[in-house]
């Protein structure tokens, strides 16, 4: 029993955070928004970091890492509001293909030459797929209508939900950071507004919620890595809790920004809209709630403290 993130996984995630922080700031989001939405140079940078091959076995030219590592990276993608379809291809499609024994495209995926956009019955759209275009509230999200008869594979759903939850955590963390940064410099009544308790307590509430979402996310990722029968419950818990955290962070951040927060000029809206989009993706709040209720209240999952890690 050792509930610590592996130091080497944390180091990799920090390196990715640093890289995206330096190369993928709000100015990049604005350039993408002004035209194109995708940029091959950004994608190439991710490939060079090895991220497209993160979960691809070493024999296929990847890094062969775990879903927990994947969740740590997906969180960084959320934090940077990354628009490129790295998570769907490298962190959702790859482990699903591996589980199915479909390894033919893994080397090409690792090399960044192939994108995979998988439809699922739970999603009425496919992100970065091909077909009739749908408009998302997120200006950097490319959606098309889902094809007829998409499958409802449970593993694919759990992978998509886990990695969405991880991105939501990163998005929420970034929105809290933006609100804190703004509260330190915006002055009213002769003081930075972050000195006022009404602002402090609002942002402290977000910090509390995030502190207790992160371990749920890690626990869900580890449950999937361990192949626990209870993994779907833990994934649903993570998605549900991350959704609430992201909405709370978004609403708190816009409130702290005041009228500035209600503009397109302030960066916050990119993160907020991604959070709204991912909250409904790969099983919305209702879907995951019902899975949790069925397992926990329905009796399939044993209750009581001795079953915490069941």
């Amino acid at each position: 029993m050792d509930f610590r993130l592996p130091p080497e996984s944390v180091e990799l995630a920090e390196a990715v955070r640093e890289y995206l922080g330096g190369t993928h700031g709000p100015d990049v989001l604005r350039q993408l928004d002004a035209g194109g939405n995708r940029d091959l140079r950004i994608w190439q940078g991710l490939v060079e970091m090895g991220l497209t091959g993160l979960l691809v076995p070493e024999s296929e030219g990847g890094l062969g890492m775990t879903l927990l590592d994947g969740a740590l990276i997906a969180r960084e993608c959320g934090r940077a509001c990354l628009a490129e379809p790295l998570v769907d291809t490298a962190l959702v499609a790859v482990p699903w293909l591996i589980a199915r024994g479909e390894t033919g495209h893994l080397a090409a995926i690792a090399a960044g030459e192939k994108l995979v956009a998988l439809p699922h019955a739970v999603n009425p759209w496919v992100a970065d797929g091909e077909g009739e275009e749908l408009a998302s509230v997120d200006p950097l999200r490319n959606l098309v209508a889902a094809p007829e008869g998409a499958g409802d594979d449970p593993l694919l759903l759990d992978l998509g939900a886990l990695m969405s939850a991880a991105q939501l955590v990163g998005l929420a963390e970034a929105m809290l950071d933006q609100a804190v940064a703004y509260a330190k410099v915006r002055e009213q009544f002769g003081h930075p507004i972050g000195g006022f308790q009404a602002i402090k307590h609002k942002l402290a509430d977000v910090a509390v919620v995030l502190e207790f979402v992160r371990p749920v996310l890690w626990r869900a990722a580890q449950a999937m890595d361990d192949g626990l029968p209870s993994a779907p419950l833990h994934v649903s818990h993570a998605k549900y809790a991350a959704t609430d955290a992201a909405y709370l962070a978004a609403e708190s951040a816009i409130q702290v920004h005041g009228a500035m927060g209600y503009t397109y000029e302030v960066d916050l809206h990119f993160w907020m809209k991604r959070a709204w989009a991912l909250s409904g993706a790969w099983g919305d709040r209702n879907f995951h709630y019902h899975r949790i209720e069925d397992a926990a209240l329905g009796g399939a999952h044993p209750l009581g403290p001795q079953h915490t890690f069941a």
Binding site: M1, D2, F3, R4, L5, P6, L68, L176, V180, A183, K184, H191, P192, G194, G195, F196, Q197, I199, K200, H201, L203, A204, D205, A207, V208, E211, F212, V213, P215, V216, W218, R219, Q222, A223, D226, H237, Y240, A241, Y289, I292, E293, A296, L297, L303, G304, P305, Q306, T308, F309
Partner: protein, 387 residues
């Protein structure tokens, strides 16, 4: 990351479970906020000690088992799942004990820790004063040095367990004219010492759980001071860290409450609104999240890390979770919520628990203060004015 218990940990859980099954009183004890109930709880402390379960993480020479934090968490999980009584010596074993372990001399450890683990000496805390609540640095009670004694004068209040306990600990101003955090010392005193008057205060439920303490020329030997003269604030902050951090509220307690709440929801399913139903499931999720977080913190501490201002996040989370769980139970019980004894003859533990849960966001540093600490020390927001 490894989220499986070792064989040894599983065997330990089994050992704890079997001992508790054989020893936990079948009859629920009277509340420890009354003298008769307090005596019952002290007897239970001694029963625990007879099985060497007083404080499992302490070294054996101090009455413990030398176990690690994971084993402590397992012990606590089994303890609360078994419906075992509240710990009368909580202030001792969870707050003062770790403080003495960190700051006390070898003589102090040998003198105070074993009787604490054995339940022979029950401890009360004495932090607050009428003018020093959330602003604890406003403490006025003085301890004047006279040779090898301090002479204490002043008043403490909201002193948990002090109506019935044996000894107390708190901060006193040992430097005349000192201000705020400076000039304070951490002293231990015999509650039966001449010059101490205890005035029990009736709590919300009507029983005298805490007390006011009046000190009139109370003589305390210098060897009862923990750490150096004037270092009291530093020591007290460490104690407060234990209190808000890992030890005061182990997750097993809230998970046991969450499991009972889920059972109550099943019993009252025909009455529960969909919103209340979802609220209960959310609260169960909250208790799980609290457990994961605690295991994460425990692993970090075992690897040489520490818990700092994150303790404030913890305290906000568990105290509000506990209140919300009991509130949900009150709503599920509906018209029976007000009854001291439920129609089926059981004591209304939810009512008692709800009343107690209202104190959680207030004691150990109010949650408003914890939110200030979170904002200032974790988020780096500026301090404006008092705080």
């Amino acid at each position: 990351m490894d989220l499986a218990y070792t064989t040894r940990q599983q065997a330990f859980r089994q050992e704890v479970r079997e001992w508790l099954a054989a020893h936990v009183p079948a009859e629920r004890l009277v509340t420890l906020e009354r003298q008769d109930g307090f005596d019952q709880h002290v007897a239970w402390e001694r029963e625990l000690a007879s099985g060497n379960w007083g404080m499992v993480t302490w070294p054996s020479e101090y009455g413990g088992r030398g176990l690690d934090l994971i084993e402590w968490l397992i012990f606590e999980e089994e303890y609360w799942a078994a419906g075992a009584p509240l710990r009368a010596n909580q202030n001792g074993i969870f707050l003062l004990g770790p403080t003495i372990m960190e700051f006390g001399s070898d003589e102090q450890k040998a003198r105070f820790l074993p009787p604490m683990a054995k339940g022979e000496v029950i401890w009360a805390q004495a932090w607050s004063e009428p003018g020093a609540g959330s602003d604890m640095a406003a403490i006025k009670a003085t301890a004047r040095r006279e040779g090898d004694h301090y002479v204490i004068n002043g008043q403490k209040t909201w002193s948990s367990r002090a109506s019935f306990a044996d000894w107390g600990f708190g901060l006193f101003r040992t430097e005349e004219g000192s201000q705020r955090h400076k000039g304070l010392s951490f002293l231990l005193f015999d509650l039966n010492a001449p010059g101490i008057t205890r005035r029990p205060i009736r709590q919300l439920h009507g029983d005298p759980g805490f007390a006011e303490l009046f000190f009139d020329e109370v003589r305390v030997p210098v060897e009862n001071r923990i750490a150096g003269e004037g270092e009291g604030w530093k020591v007290a902050m460490a104690t407060a860290g234990f209190e808000r951090g890992l030890m005061l509220r182990s997750p097993g307690r809230f998970q046991a409450t969450a499991a009972r709440l889920m059972a109550l929801l099943r019993e009252t399913a025909d009455r529960a609104s969909p919103g209340l139903r979802e609220e209960v499931v959310r609260l169960w999720m909250g208790a799980q999240a609290y457990a994961y977080n605690t295991y994460q913190v425990a692993a970090r501490i075992m690897a040489g890390g520490s818990i700092g201002a994150e303790a404030s996040l913890n305290k906000i989370f568990w105290s509000e979770l506990d209140r919300a769980m009991h509130r949900a139970a009150m709503h599920l019980l509906g018209p029976a919520a007000e009854l001291q004894t439920l129609p089926d003859g059981r004591a209304n533990e939810w009512l008692e628990g709800y009343i107690f849960s209202l104190s959680g966001p207030i004691y150990a540093g109010s949650n408003e203060i914890q939110r200030n600490i979170t904002a200032e020390r974790l988020l780096g927001l500026p301090r404006v004015g008092a705080g």
